[in-house]
């Protein structure tokens, strides 16, 4: 009940935001001047005529960081429910040790990446 109410409220806020965007775009369409010229619609290259496609390959380093990100982001997702319950689980003792082991394994991964110079931007 309150669940749907809350997310409904969020939905209402989304709707208001969406309406704002729609109104702004529509109003802009009505108000703005429109003087199209071919040069205007070219890609911005600091005044030079653009050469080739704008899409290019990016360096593999970005990929490696994305890879590490997935690991550690998922890790922090696992940490949240544990963090909420930790105080209540205190009598069961080992919960902290277990999480330290889990984080430790991932930290070894980070250390490995570090030592293999994955984290160096300039080689």
């Amino acid at each position: 009940m309150s669940y749907y109410w809350q997310y409904g409220t969020l939905g209402a806020l989304t709707a208001v935001g969406g309406a704002f965007v729609v109104i702004a775009f529509l109003g802009n369409r009505l108000m703005r001047p429109r003087k199209p010229r071919v040069e205007k619609a070219t890609t911005y290259e600091c005044g030079m005529d653009p050469v080739g496609e704008g899409w290019s390959n990016t360096h593999i380093r970005y990929y490696l960081f994305a890879f590490l990100f997935v690991i550690f982001d998922v890790e922090s997702v696992f940490l949240f429910p544990w963090a909420v319950q930790l105080e209540k689980l205190r009598p069961q003792g080992t919960v902290l040790v277990e999480m330290i082991v889990f984080i430790g394994i991932l930290a070894i991964g980070l250390l490995y990446a570090w030592k293999k110079k994955v984290l160096e931007w300039v080689k």
Binding site: K88, L89, T94, V95, I108, L111, Y112, K115
Partner: protein, 487 residues
């Protein structure tokens, strides 16, 4: 909602903990001290495997389902661990020299091997479809990297990419099957699924699709026809030691998982899946044997031969009785040993640059190096299933189990394909012994090292001993399944 921390029976997963722990330590040592002597890492890995074996031995009298019903500690799981730990240890023995020779002796090899082994042992013991999936992913991810371990070798890269793409594809099948099973029965635990699948209210169509999907997933991993496409390329491209590890270890682990899932969870549906797997088994044996004839590369030939062997092991699953399981366990162990022996022989065949991969290069090698030629001959005879080798005993047990299950046609088909398969093994034996060695072929000699000799010796001894006096091992395999699967 109160949260209750689960009870964890640490001793039940001690072998896997040892393997993972060893892998992490090896990884750390390699990362912090890249110049570390590889002998140290190899020794550490062997010690880890020894520790895991000790923990496994410690579990020998335990029969339980632990970890909230996800992990079985039973005879089959223990026997599976036995096979896999032997495989891993022998792989390390045959890898050491080979990797140095190819200049790909990077330290990550050992952690990857240990992690793959831990995934395999978990798969052999998994009593829950989700754990099976995780175990398969653990072993596969490590193996993808290991197949591509020769970074500068295009074939290795090609094999790794093909293995990765098709492996990911098969994982999707498996996962979809697991999801459907969960939808139909409300559980991923094998024993619960088996109870639910037997009741009339279960949605049969959903179950059929689920079983088919899961069968496809496992068939990919064991390289059964028509899902065998990746294996020749991956086997050929991978570093030879990795090929041996895959042929022996992945196959054994995936088959044990296959057996457990189909006999425990889907046992009630066996009248539906047995005919399908019958066809798959025959097709696997036939395609593997026939295509192996056409190969001129030793590793590729062994890859097709390993497909054919997957077909033989499937006989044990189609038989769907205890004899079938024990025969398959026996077969997986002796197959692991002999195929590792065969790949060790391929590694020994050249000390310097490239191995003798093309069949022509093996001509007359037995006349020049009789002991080496004899060992290779022995493994080939065992792969062909001729007496007095362990291969014969293994096939005999599988056929006996099938006859007991009244699958006579299957036995006839298997016998015919065995004859076909014998052709290409014997052809290589003929090449080794009956051709004159070229006067000066420019080839260097063969390159045994103590580790390689040890592994060759163990493999050869095991192949003969379990061929002539197989009874003790047969008893062990029978004991493993004598009380059925737990759970």
């Amino acid at each position: 909602m109160p949260f209750v921390a689960p009870h964890i029976a640490w001793h039940g997963i001690a072998p896997e903990l040892a393997l993972v722990g060893g892998a992490l330590v090896a990884l750390l040592i390699d990362a912090v001290k890249p110049a570390v002597d590889r002998r140290f890492l190899a020794g550490l890995s062997l010690a880890t495997i020894g520790l895991a074996a000790w923990f496994t031995f410690d579990l020998r009298d335990t029969r339980a389902v632990i970890m909230q019903g996800t992990l079985a500690v039973d005879g089959v799981a223990l026997f599976g661990r036995l096979i896999l730990l032997i495989t891993a240890a022998m792989t390390i023995l045959i890898s050491y020299h080979y990797l140095s020779r190819r200049r790909i002796h990077r330290g990550e090899y050992y952690p990857l091997l240990l992690l793959a082994t831990s995934g395999m042992t978990l798969l052999a013991a998994s009593n829950d479809l989700l754990l099976s999936f995780l175990a398969i992913e653990t072993l596969s991810l490590a193996l993808y990297v290991m197949v591509g371990f020769a970074r500068r070798d295009e074939k290795s890269q090609e094999g790794a990419l093909k293995y990765f793409l098709l492996g990911a594809f098969s994982s999707a099948f498996l996962l979809y099957g697991i999801a459907l099973t969960y939808g139909a029965t409300g559980s991923t635990q094998l024993s619960v699924i088996s109870k639910q699948a037997a009741v009339a209210s279960v949605d049969e169509r959903l179950m059929f699709v689920a079983v088919a999907m899961i069968a496809v997933g496992f068939a990919f991993k064991v390289a059964a026809v028509p899902f065998h496409m990746w294996s020749p390329d991956a086997y050929q491209g991978a570093p030879t030691s990795v090929t041996g590890f895959m042929a022996a270890g992945t196959k054994a682990a995936a088959f044990i998982g296959f057996f457990r899932v189909f006999l425990v969870a889907f046992g009630a549906l066996q009248w539906d899946w047995r005919p399908v797997l019958w066809i798959v088994a025959v097709a696997t044996m036939a395609v593997g044997s026939l295509l192996a004839i056409a190969q001129t590369d030793v590793k590729r030939m062994l890859a097709y031969s390993s497909i054919a062997h997957a077909g033989y092991v499937l006989i044990g699953l189609v038989a769907a009785n205890r004899d079938g399981v024990s025969a398959a366990l026996f077969y997986l162990l002796i197959y692991a040993v002999m195929v590792l022996g065969a790949f060790a022989a391929v590694i020994v065949s050249a000390p310097g640059g490239s191995e003798r991969l093309s069949l022509a290069e093996w001509g007359g090698i037995g006349r020049r190096y009789p002991v080496f030629g004899g060992a290779m001959t022995l493994f080939l005879l065992a792969l062909a299933g001729l007496p007095p080798t362990s291969g014969f005993t293994g096939k005999f047990l599988l056929f006996a189990a099938a006859i007991k299950a009244h699958e006579n046609a299957l036995v006839v088909a298997a016998t015919i394909t065995s004859v076909v398969a014998a052709f290409f093994y014997v052809r290589l034996i003929v090449l080794i012994w009956l051709q004159d060695p070229p006067p000066d072929d420019g080839h260097p000699g063969i390159g045994p090292t103590p580790a390689l000799i040890t592994s060759l010796g163990i493999a050869a001894a095991a192949t003969i001993v379990f061929g002539v006096w197989p009874q003790s091992l047969i008893d062990l395999a029978r004991n493993a399944i004598s009380h059925g699967f737990v759970g």
